[in-house]
């Protein structure tokens, strides 16, 4: 497993002498860019070198070195490895970095996240508000000197658990509120969420005057956080003119638990079950991404049989995700429950396989560094074969017969534009939504990981970028996943399922790694920094759902409010992953 990042074919240092240096820290890659030249260099990276897809923006707090760093990962939609560039700023006073929103609009929410959690100010960002934390919150929780309520120690395992582990409940030891910091002069009883005023201020103006001088009021409608169609606690503040959407801001963070901070307190292995809780429909995929990132750092190979087991599990996971997507899309459209329950039937059978293999239906925790936990028990591989060769193809066809030609559905979906290819790339969208616009970008092909390069499959692609294509591409992908599975279950070799000795604390050399996979929802990536200690120094998740909603406003402007539900539906968001 090579840890190469593309530095050979692009020589940024030669192109910008004096303002770019190669990152020479051991285990690190990419380029360090002068802060003042960041926008110029990013424009060149996009236009001259062709890295049009900026997937991740990560803030890192290097407290001992007293500096902060912002890491950008850029890729080409035509495929190939990525380009990583970083900007470093001193960690004193206001930490300021120029915003890249003009070059890559997809950084919008990610820059807001870095501001919210790390206090990195992106100058030039038009709407730099908190995004995951609430507006009255003080401090930036991902900074290394910030301590959460019920803080015990910087790193797990905690010393109080053994050998003198007399049980104490956290709330007894540390009653609620005592460790909670409020801004100065803050009274929670009297607090008026000024953030909401800021939110509505960031939407379009309330009153308009039409050419004839007629004053008209716009209405602000809050879809969510308690709304059956928003797939969890997602809220969108929408400005309406009549029924037409003229402004939209996503408001997220209701399910925020600071997964990154938890991850930095954990040891490497302890993070594995936590990744299950990101996109809880696809814990196998989440495990996959994290395992890849840490394996890159450790520079270890994965056992051959485990590679195939990983692919089998990840593809089964994709199939059930897409089936449920179809069911839930129909739910959003008002076809209550029948398609959803048909989808759940197949999902149950797939979850039975996960349960028999990994021990849990949804929180699989199946991957380990270098392999997987255990081999598939007897009979389970046969069950997978039964599903793959026999049941699932037939059921996918049945789903197609059931829905795809239904005139009511077709007239509802066809021609409703989601987004066009150019905007999708600009807004860093990945996954089926991007592929439905005609960009055949699939990480399994574009930047292969695991053993995906051994399988014969097509990247599902549709060209209209409307709702119908977004629906159909899911069925296409199920068929392609079945193709991969057919080959995988045939080719799977015998042998050990882990290349490493089981250890409860792995040794991870210092350095950084970016592990990315094609999760059913788009690019899921983990950026992990190790300083050689048992716990990661930085652990950042780049979730597909979160980045994909950056374009939500763009998608919805000018459409009718009734279409919002479906437009959000095709993004296939999961709040566990979005809010982290």
């Amino acid at each position: 497993m090579a840890t190469t990042f593309l530095t050979s074919t692009v020589d940024l240092v030669a192109r910008f002498p004096g303002s770019v240096t190669a990152d020479a820290r051991p285990g690190y890659h990419g380029f360090i860019v002068e802060k003042d030249k960041l926008v110029e260099i990013a424009t060149a990276i996009r236009d001259e070198f062709g890295y049009d897809l900026l997937t991740a923006v990560t803030g890192v707090d290097y407290l001992p070195e007293n500096k902060m760093e912002v890491v950008y990962h850029a890729y080409k939609t035509t495929g190939g490895p990525g380009l990583m560039f970083k900007v470093q700023v001193p960690r004193v006073g206001p930490v300021e970095v120029p915003s890249l929103i003009e070059v890559y609009p997809g950084v919008d929410l990610q820059e807001r996240e870095a501001w919210d959690l790390l206090g990195i100010k992106f100058t030039g960002h038009p709407d730099l508000r908190r995004i995951l934390m609430w507006e009255g919150f003080e401090g930036h929780p991902l900074r290394k000197d910030w301590k959460e309520p019920f803080y015990e120690e910087d790193f797990k395992p905690f010393k109080s658990r053994w050998p003198e582990g007399k049980h104490v409940s956290a709330e007894e030891k540390n009653p609620f509120k005592d460790n909670l910091k409020y801004p100065q002069n803050f009274d929670p009883e009297k607090w008026i969420p000024e953030g909401d005023a800021m939110l509505y201020g960031s939407l379009a103006r309330y009153t308009t005057v039409d050419p004839e001088g007629l004053k008209a009021d716009r209405i602000v409608v809050n879809m969510g956080p308690q709304h059956p169609s928003t797939h969890g606690v997602f809220r969108a503040a929408i400005t309406l003119e009549g029924e037409t959407i003229v402004g939209l801001k996503p408001v997220v963070g209701y399910l925020h638990r600071n997964h990154d901070k938890i991850g930095e307190r954990n040891t490497y292995l302890q993070n594995m079950p936590y990744t299950d809780r990101l996109d809880y429909f696809n814990s196998m995929s989440n495990n996959f991404g994290y395992a890849i990132a840490v394996e890159k750092l450790m520079n270890i190979k994965v056992a051959e049989r485990a590679e195939y087991l990983r692919v089998i599990m990840a593809e089964l996971s994709r199939i059930q995700n897409h089936l449920v997507f179809v069911g839930m899309l129909l739910n959003d459209l008002g076809a209550m429950y029948t398609p959803a329950l048909y989808a759940f039937e197949e999902r149950e059978l797939i979850l039975d396989i996960f349960e028999a293999t990994a021990g849990s239906r949804m929180m699989c925790n199946y991957f380990r560094f270098g392999g997987v936990v255990r081999d598939v028990p007897e009979g389970v591989l046969q069950k997978i074969k039964d599903l793959v060769f026999d049941r699932l193809p037939a059921k996918t066809d049945e789903m197609e017969r059931f829905l795809s030609e239904n005139e009511v559905l077709v007239s509802r979906l066809q021609g409703v534009k989601v987004i066009d290819a150019e905007d999708a790339v600009r807004f860093s969208m990945t996954g089926p939504v991007l592929r439905a616009t005609g960009v055949p970008y699939d990480i399994r092909r574009a930047d292969p990981y695991g053993v995906y390069d051994r399988f014969d499959f097509d990247v599902a692609v549709r060209y209209n970028g409307d709702l119908m294509d977004n629906y159909l591409i899911r069925l296409d992908e199920i068929r392609q996943s079945l193709r991969i599975l057919e080959q995988a279950v045939k080719q799977i070799p015998e042998g050990p399922i882990n290349s490493q000795k089981p250890q409860y604390q792995v040794r991870v050399p210092a350095g950084e790694a970016y592990g990315r996979i094609e999760s059913p929802k788009g690019e899921l990536a983990f950026y992990v920094i190790s300083n050689g200690k048992p716990n990661p120094w930085r652990y950042h998740v780049r979730p597909a759902s979160f980045v994909n909603i950056t374009a939500l406003e763009k998608m919805c402007l000018g459409t009718k409010i009734a279409d919002f539900v479906v437009l959000l539906g095709v993004l296939d968001i999961v709040m566990g992953e979005l809010d982290r």
């Binding site: 797990k156 049980h167 954990n266 059978l349 925790n365 936990v373 039964d386 049941r391």
Partner: protein, 203 residues
């Protein structure tokens, strides 16, 4: 023709609707009960399942596979005189590997020498915090902590299990996880045999 697609789709629901009844009749004709017994539940989880799919919990329960994991328990072996021999040596690996840090162990110290004795004085699992990940059982070198199958632990109070509550006999372990139990036993026997062979060679 407009409406053909709808009719095609309705055909699917129509078939699905009747398949429940045709299945029921087929089971009746074979003189078997499709509901409220294990065979019926198994058939509903089979790849050829048709018709109604739901399992009517709590009257019916899904068949739990061996690897299913829920809040762990501690294993004790029953000695010949009926004494409980706790397998745990309070080495603390499970407490160290536990991601939400819900395992608390008090180690026993010999009152005379003050040195640790390989038996836990007390052992707590905060089941409300436990995330059922199974890492403790996976990394326990003594097969002393095992993931349970008993998932019906809802209660009106906090579930902080102490050692008394956590201890279950090895026979229970064997009952819920026969294959794993056998594997552990084989490994242990192989280890003992190797040890004996080594001792013999030394003599």
């Amino acid at each position: 023709m407009y409406g053909l697609g709808i009719l095609k789709g309705l055909r699917v629901t129509w078939d699905r609707f009747w398949s429940t009844y045709t299945e029921d009749i087929a089971w009746l004709a074979r003189g078997k009960k499709r509901y409220f017994n294990e065979e019926g539940v198994k058939a509903r989880a089979h790849k050829d399942t048709r018709g109604i799919f739901t399992v009517q919990y709590p009257e019916e329960k899904l068949i739990i596979p061996e690897e299913f994991r829920y809040v762990p328990f501690l294993v004790y072996d029953e000695a010949a005189d009926g004494k409980k021999e706790v397998r745990c040596t309070s080495c603390g690996i499970c407490a160290k590997v536990c991601p939400p840090q819900c395992i608390w162990i008090v180690r026993t110290n010999d009152p005379a020498t003050g040195r640790p004795v390989p038996v836990p004085a007390d052992f707590y699992i905060d089941a409300d915090i436990c995330m059922n990940c199974g890492l403790c059982a996976e990394y326990c070198p003594f097969d002393a902590i095992i993931m349970d199958h008993d998932f019906e632990i809802a209660s009106y109070h906090r579930n902080v299990f102490n050692m008394e509550h956590l201890l279950k006999p090895a026979s229970y372990y064997k009952n819920i996880r026969p294959l794993n139990y056998q594997r552990n036993e084989d490994e242990r026997k192989a280890k003992e045999a190797a040890k004996a062979a080594k001792a013999e060679a030394a003599n």
